[in-house]
């Protein structure tokens, strides 16, 4: 082990800490450095984290001490635990699993060609905020983008739109993915700091099946909006090499809300191409590369004043995987990635605007992660070291109605560079076969820099004292206890997490929010937002009956939200005023879901879920975008080659709406859906058919999550066909 290498690792951490952190990180970095070499030594490492209520102590003697082996002692109590990776039904879970399109038929009644947005919406944990028929924004635990960590296969990627018109879920398609991993609250902090939770869109695993070439063709049509989808999927899988290529194309006209009311500017068109390839060097080493290119054009946003003429993403990565059961590190996966997004807002299709404008935005991210897992006795360790560097730039040009005046220009995201490096460590300890304890910690260094002089100077108009850079330390910690018995399982968890302000919250410059009709100015002086979280989950099964309860509570300190500054004059014509991002001293968010199912027979079942959510701030105002009382009831009939489901889904009246933050009361609604599926074998090939009716009664409705109350789709007949050639 050389000192130079220690220095190299340490340099990541040596930026700008207060002394207590410095001790922590010096030790930590030493630890990491040691991990890279075989050392026959006795190590005693104490990690003290004053802010995080965490006390680590480890004393262990080992022949080969390789990776970061952290035994977590907390108040003399050993935390640790299992790896709970159960694939559940999407209505109840922590994890939605996208089993390839071909297998969906025997899984759950869905469209084979539904978008990721549709998929995510099927999870009770996730609500999609809609500004149109495309690029919905996921929200979990009543928190959206800024408070979530959304990653693609562990890769950080950030939307390039200042108005959140391009959540990153819009840049991948189902055809790219294997599954979506959802972690509520701090359990979602593996890939980044979060308050509400983490969503990781996972690309397909290595496929060295030796199954040769497989082709599948998908076609879909929906009557509402004349929505056409086509997909082609080619997969070659050999012994040492695989190649997976797929493309998907989607095009929809304006959709109709209930009672045939056309929703103008709700059209979209997009295609997505992906190429994944892997080469197996030997039994232990694999190299993989993936490229995804996604391009949407002519996307309408009926809830907003502008549409999108281009949303384009290029997502690339190379990965090295090591697997060996006989070494101490059983798996080590390292990835180097780059992605770039271009997003162009445009209002040229709108006949009537107070002023014409262009708002392009760019976001480039470079990053890496390296994660290792190992099992020692009853401990399962997982360490993830990651870092990224992001550049976010957005500008606005307005063309005055008086042609003699020259165009007006500003940087709405003044070239913000974000540098993050952090480490995540998790220990899962199986106390008994049916009992486990886990603890996870993430610490990281986060830096924002305003790279453009103009950007700094423009923000100094509002904050004359600020400098170009801002450094933060972020910590999150979570622990979870699980018991699984024959008839019941219980999980109890607690956590603490911090997040930095997002680029818009920290540095946005006159970002118009059509939801509350205010211009927003970022605040570079915001403190970290901090959350203390408790969650509880219990399930009871008895023969054919199942009952589950899931609840979580968040106490958020320094909750970041816009606050009206009456002294400021809005930039957007017609805006009500200007809001500056400020922090409420605290906010509380609570949710509870109760679900139950009963199987009448092997093929016939009934299930239902009801949910209640609550959110309020220290100013005694309700928080915006809190889901009202919601329910879902479903009758399922499922045979190996046929399935059918009738679904009733609705929300109660939104009585606790947030008038203070620009919300109005959304009335109750209920809709009825029917889904059917068939599967046929034609020679060696397979044919899958999915069809059904959504919103059978053609209800005209909107939900609390619909931006400016734009109505949702009315009655829709759909049919999806997949043909798989082996």
């Amino acid at each position: 082990m050389s000192l130079r290498n220690i220095q190299k690792v340490r340099s990541i951490w040596s930026l700008n800490f207060n002394p207590t952190y410095l001790i922590t990180f010096t030790k930590l970095s030493k630890y990491i450095a040691l991990s890279g070499w075989e050392v026959d030594t006795k190590l005693s490492i104490i990690l003290i984290l004053t802010d995080g209520i965490v006390f680590y102590n480890q004393t262990t003697t080992m022949k080969k001490l390789i990776t970061v082996v952290i035994w977590v002692f907390c108040g003399g109590f050993i935390f640790a635990q299992e790896s709970p990776d159960t694939k559940n039904d999407t209505t109840k879970l922590d994890e939605i699993t996208l089993v390839g399109r071909r297998k969906l038929s025997n899984y759950r009644q869905e469209k084979t060609l539904s978008s990721i947005d549709d998929y995510l919406e099927k999870s009770s944990k996730i609500t999609m905020i809609k500004r149109g028929n495309y690029a919905w924004e996921p929200a979990m635990n009543n928190m959206n983008s800024e408070r979530l960590s959304v990653t693609i296969d562990g890769m950080q990627i950030f939307g390039a739109c200042t108005d959140k018109m391009d959540p990153i879920t819009s840049y991948v398609d189902v055809s790219n993915l294997q599954k979506v991993s959802i972690g509520s609250g701090q359990s979602g902090s593996e890939n980044g700091h979060t308050i509400g939770g983490g969503i990781d869109l996972q690309l397909s695993n290595s496929k060295f099946h030796q199954s040769g070439l497989k082709t599948s063709i998908d076609l879909g049509y929906e009557t509402n909006g004349n929505y056409k989808t086509g997909g082609l999927d080619l997969e070659y899988s050999g012994n040492k090499f695989y190649l997976h290529a797929d493309g998907i194309y989607r095009k929809s006209d304006n959709y109709d809300a209930g009672n045939s009311q056309e929703v103008l500017y709700s059209q979209f068109q997009k295609y997505n191409i992906s190429l994944q390839s892997g080469y197996k060097l030997n039994d232990h080493h694999t190299f993989e590369a993936a490229v995804i290119y996604d391009k949407a054009t002519d996307v309408g946003y009926p809830a907003l004043t502008m549409d999108v003429s281009l949303a384009e993403a290029l997502i690339t990565s190379v990965t090295h995987k090591f697997e060996n059961d006989s070494t101490l590190i059983q798996s080590l996966e390292s990835k180097l990635y780059f992605n770039t997004i271009t997003h162009v807002m445009d209002d040229s299709k709108r006949p009537d605007v107070p002023i014409r404008m262009d708002m392009p935005g760019w976001s480039d991210t470079y990053g890496f992660y390296s994660k290792a897992t190992t099992n020692i006795n009853k401990h399962a360790f997982e360490v993830n070291l990651n870092g990224f560097y992001n550049r976010s730039l957005a500008e606005m040009t307005m063309y005055p109605n008086d042609p003699n005046q020259s165009a007006m220009f500003m940087y709405t995201w003044p070239d913000i560079r974000t540098l993050y490096s952090g480490i995540y460590a998790k220990d899962t300890y199986a106390i008994k076969d049916d009992m486990s304890l886990s603890a996870a910690l993430r610490i990281g260094f986060h830096q924002n820099e305003i790279a453009k002089e103009t950007g700094l100077e423009s923000l100094q108009i509002f904050y004359p004292e600020i400098g170009a850079t801002k450094n933060r330390m972020l910590t999150s910690f979570t622990t979870n206890y699980q018991v699984k018995k024959e008839h019941y399982d219980v999980s109890l968890g607690a956590g603490y997490g911090e997040r930095a302000a997002s680029v818009s919250e920290g540095y946005g410059f006159f970002l118009f929010n059509s939801f509350d009709n205010y211009d927003y100015i970022g605040n570079p002086t915001l403190n970290n937002e901090k959350a203390i979280e408790a969650n509880f989950k219990a399930n009871y099964h008895e023969n054919r009956f199942h009952l589950g309860l899931e609840t979580s509570y968040f106490y958020i300190i320094d909750y970041i939200i816009g606050s009206v500054d009456n002294s400021l004059s809005p930039m957007t014509i017609g805006a009500s005023g200007v809001k500056m991002y400020e922090a409420l001293s605290h906010a509380k968010i609570f949710n509870v879901y109760l679900n139950s199912s009963y199987k009448f027979s092997n093929s016939f079942s009934l299930n239902g879920t009801v949910g209640y959510n609550y959110g309020s701030g220290s100013n005694n105002e309700n928080l915006p975008l809190i889901k009202p009382f919601s329910y879902l009831a479903e009758v399922n009939y499922s045979k190996p080659k046929f399935n059918a489901a009738l679904q009733l889904q609705g929300n109660g009246n939104q009585t606790r709406y947030s008038g203070f933050y620009g919300e109005d009361e959304t009335p109750a609604y209920a809709i009825l859906n029917l889904n059917l599926g068939n599967e046929f074998n034609l020679n060696a090939n397979k044919f899958v058919l999915k069809y059904g009716i959504e919103n059978i009664l053609d209800t005209n409705y909107s939900t609390y999550a619909d931006w400016n109350n734009i109505p949702r789709q009315g009655r829709n007949f759909y049919i999806n066909m997949s043909y798989i050639i082996y």
Partner: protein, 281 residues
């Protein structure tokens, strides 16, 4: 075996290296090289060369650099003392304009500098003449010539009658290149004492309210009213410009007793003060 250790380290190294910041080094700008010649005024012995950054006179504030060439030797005179008098010939009368004294440029051997604020111009640029009197080694010389002064696109100077029946003149001196930031705003305030005399008015106050008429009269925060700076004899304050484009600087002029001499507050009904300057960038 080794590979699995090397790759993460490689990533870290790559990452740390790739994030180094790049700094720009300042380049030294030679002021003379960036100037353009406006006009030459010639007499029997000397050529007086007038320069500024644009190479032409326009209404408003004009910073002018001057060089005197000895026609006999073609050398530039280094020890002259100069004064000047711009004159506008109108059909029935003539008048001058506010101007500074001419001083030797700091750190320059052959350059002298000063400013003239032309408050008006004919469409074809005619009407103005400039007389330069200078002394070299105790001998007085003079040169006088018509000059061309064009109308600026935007109102950067305004002449008005105050409530005290005095004619005043306000001109924008800085920012010459406005930016999206808090700009240092410098205005010159002069009183028309006679047709030929425009002394600086001291210790008044000028209030500032910048607006964008193209954006629903959008305003900006953290502007400050202008106060008199004895050192440079100008009125100084902060001007916040939140975006590029066309801005109207609505002003009010207050005397030492805080009585309003000209200008009004901007309201919904009254979107523009009668005392204003314009800029676009």
């Amino acid at each position: 075996m080794k590979l699995k250790y090397i790759i993460p380290i490689l990533f870290i190294a790559l990452f740390t290296v790739s994030c180094s910041s790049d700094d720009d080094s300042d380049t030294i700008i030679n002021e003379v090289e960036n100037l353009k010649k406006i006009q030459e005024l010639t007499n029997a012995t000397h050529t007086v060369e007038l320069f500024n950054t644009s190479g032409k006179f326009e209404t408003g504030y004009n910073a002018i650099s001057i060089r005197i060439k000895d026609n006999g030797t073609n050398n530039y005179v280094e020890n002259a003392s100069l004064s000047w008098m711009p004159v506008m010939q109108m059909p029935t009368m003539k008048h001058s304009s506010p101007k500074s004294d001419i001083l030797k440029s700091l750190g320059k051997k052959t350059l002298y500098e000063g400013f003239i604020i032309y408050q008006m111009a004919n469409l074809d640029g005619s009407g103005w003449s400039l007389k330069v009197d200078y002394t070299i080694d105790g001998i007085n010389y003079s040169v006088d010539s018509d000059i061309i002064v064009m109308q600026s696109e935007y109102q950067n100077v305004t002449s008005f009658m105050g409530a005290d029946d005095t004619r005043y003149l306000i001109a924008m001196i800085e920012p010459q290149t406005p930016k999206i930031a808090i700009n240092k705003l410098k205005l010159g305030l002069f009183k028309m004492e006679t047709m030929m005399s425009f002394p600086v008015v001291e210790d008044y106050k000028i209030t500032l309210d910048p607006r964008m008429p193209g954006m629903g009269n959008h305003s900006s925060p953290n502007n400050t009213d202008l106060t008199y700076n004895l050192a440079n004899k100008m009125y100084e304050g902060n001007l916040s410009l939140t975006m590029t484009g066309y801005w109207v600087l609505n002003l009010k002029l207050l005397n030492t007793l805080d009585e309003v001499l000209k200008g009004e507050n901007v309201t919904e009904e009254h979107p523009k003060s009668s005392l204003y300057l314009e800029l676009e960038f």
